[in-house]
């Protein structure tokens, strides 16, 4: 299955059938219990912002043309945390919805607020 890292406009995560753990970085085993053949699931893209920054000093000339851009860590409702780009007004604790937008030659996750956090 493809996800945004391989050109599809979707975010995948993994689930362990044995211990019910979920995580984001793909592997062919469960990092919690070692169980084999984790299940691939498609994320809803909904979550709560855990941390957010604005990158002003980009790492390369190509990315400098796109700066400033905002990067967030989002706690997704399925129980995993993912790094995304974020809209300008997104703040910690906001509830957000992820979409997939162009960034240079890539399509990347980008989140937008749908409810202000407490």
């Amino acid at each position: 299955m493809k996800d945004w890292t391989t050109g599809a406009a979707t975010m995948l995560f993994q689930h362990c059938r044995a211990c019910d753990a979920v995580w984001y970085f793909a592997r062919d085993f469960c990092p919690h219990c070692g169980g084999p053949a984790p299940e691939q699931r498609t994320g809803s893209g909904r979550g709560r912002v855990y941390a957010v920054t604005t990158v002003t000093r980009a790492p390369s000339p190509a990315l400098r043309a796109l700066a400033p851009y905002r990067i967030a860590l989002v706690d997704m409702e399925e129980g995993f945390r993912a790094m995304t780009h974020a809209a300008e007004d997104v703040a910690i604790d906001d509830l957000v919805q992820t979409r997939f937008v162009p960034f240079g030659d890539l399509v990347i996750p980008w989140c937008k607020r749908w409810e202000r956090g407490a």
Binding site: T5, Y50, T56, P59, L73
Partner: protein, 413 residues
């Protein structure tokens, strides 16, 4: 008798109780317990723009100084531990250096643990010496990180500590990873940008008295808050620079001269690699590593007199100080403002100016903290000398507060 006392040390260990620590010293007056090692020599180059000096040049400069300080010849060094260099990536940096410098060690090892490497190499040297395997271990690092590559190359190389598939494509930098950390830590603790700025101001004021420091011009909190934004909330004066430089220490089984500084505890903790995979950005492995080194058991927090804490960013320093209980949660900046961490304060901190102002050449960056600590503990810090550095806590981190190393050093009578 010695064995009995050493067992007693563990039996009597209680948090906050100084007795076990006294017994350790009593049982081991000459280090025959082999739980100890001595830092018999130190060497440090200036940090900053050292045009034309290569990784091997800078490592050699620091190693020569450390061997001279320890009073050792090359053929007396039986162990060699190096870090890595981004400008000299090599499968075998330790033996590349050994050949260049003229060493034929019994043991050689290059360690790679990001910013934690400096103290991890020293911990490894200590363990090998304490185990009786080696007599004199040269620990050396150096890199022309500033002039040996373009600024973009340095920034891109460092950003690769991010996850290659799930993080790096989003265009983060090391400051961005720490900007994420800072946003969360400030949200949970009430730490402000002004609080963080106090730590940058403090490091700069300390560097003013070190002729080798990269940045010696005084700065104010307003200067930090008005400096160029890099990765919010971090501004350029919240970030350590990229520098050229080298640092080395010799870790020995026995004293080689008057210097009486010994390592009495080491610990590590590794909780994650990538910022996305950290369980929390408000609690890290810092205190776990310190406890494994013996802080709170063999060594009481209240007995500490000097602190050498990794300061890649102001937020790093704030978090590590607070995680180590050297400051209350959210209170590191206020303590710095009150002079607590100054040369004449209750807990002098990074009196050479730290990474933030002495400079950051990679692995040698943390080792500069150790060199300064040894100079303080041997009364050789000149105008920076503190009144009492008899018991020191050193702590470094690598990655995104992912890997932690604590060292505890004691001044021998």
């Amino acid at each position: 008798m010695l064995v009995a006392l050493r067992h007693a040390k563990w039996c009597l260990t209680l948090p906050g109780n100084r007795l076990p620590y006294c017994i350790l010293r009593a049982a081991d007056p000459a280090g025959e317990g082999r739980e100890l090692s001595w830092i018999t020599g130190v060497g440090l180059t200036p940090f900053g723009r050292l045009e034309g000096r290569t990784t091997l040049d800078l490592m050699s400069d620091a190693a020569s100084a450390a061997l001279a300080d320890a009073g050792l010849r090359r053929d007396e060094v039986d162990g060699l531990i190096t870090g890595y260099s981004t400008t000299l990536p090599h499968l075998m940096l330790s033996t590349v250096f050994a050949e260049h410098f003229g060493l034929t060690p019994h043991y050689a090892h290059g360690v790679q643990l990001g910013g934690a490497t400096g103290f991890a190499t020293v911990m490894l040297a200590h363990e090998l010496v304490a185990a009786g395997r080696l007599r004199h271990v040269l620990v050396v690092a150096g890199e022309n990180r500033m002039t040996g590559q373009s600024r973009d190359a340095a920034i891109q190389t460092l950003a690769q500590v991010g996850h290659p598939r799930y993080e790096v494509p989003l265009g983060p930098t090391i400051p961005a990873y720490y900007g994420l950390v800072a946003s969360r830590y400030m949200h949970e603790t009430g730490t402000t940008a002004e609080d963080l700025a106090e730590l940058a101001v403090l490091m700069r004021s300390h560097a003013a008295l070190h002729p080798g420091a990269q940045f010696r011009e005084p700065i104010s909190v307003a200067d930090v808050l008005g400096s160029k934004p890099i990765a919010a909330p971090l501004r350029i004066l919240d970030c350590c620079p990229v520098s050229d430089g080298g640092a080395a220490v010799v870790v020995s089984r026995d004293r080689t001269g008057e210097a009486g500084v010994r390592i009495i505890g080491c610990g590590q903790a590794h909780t994650h690699q990538h910022v996305s995979a950290a369980a929390s950005l408000a609690s890290f492995g810092t205190a776990t590593a310190a406890a494994r080194a013996g802080l709170g058991t063999r060594v009481a927090l209240a007995d500490l007199r000097y602190a050498a804490i990794y300061d890649s960013f102001t937020i790093t320093l704030a978090i590590l100080l607070e995680e180590l209980s050297l400051a209350p949660r959210g209170g590191a900046g206020a303590l710095a403002r009150d002079g607590h961490f100054g040369r004449d304060g209750a807990m002098p901190l990074n009196t050479h100016g730290g990474l933030l102002s002495y400079g950051q050449c990679g692995v040698g960056g943390a080792m500069a903290h150790l060199v300064e600590t040894q100079l303080q503990m041997t009364g050789r810090a000149g105008p920076r000398q503190v009144r009492d550095a008899s018991l020191a806590l050193l702590h470094g981190d690598g990655g995104v507060l992912s890997s932690h190393v604590t060292l505890l050093l004691e001044q021998a009578r």
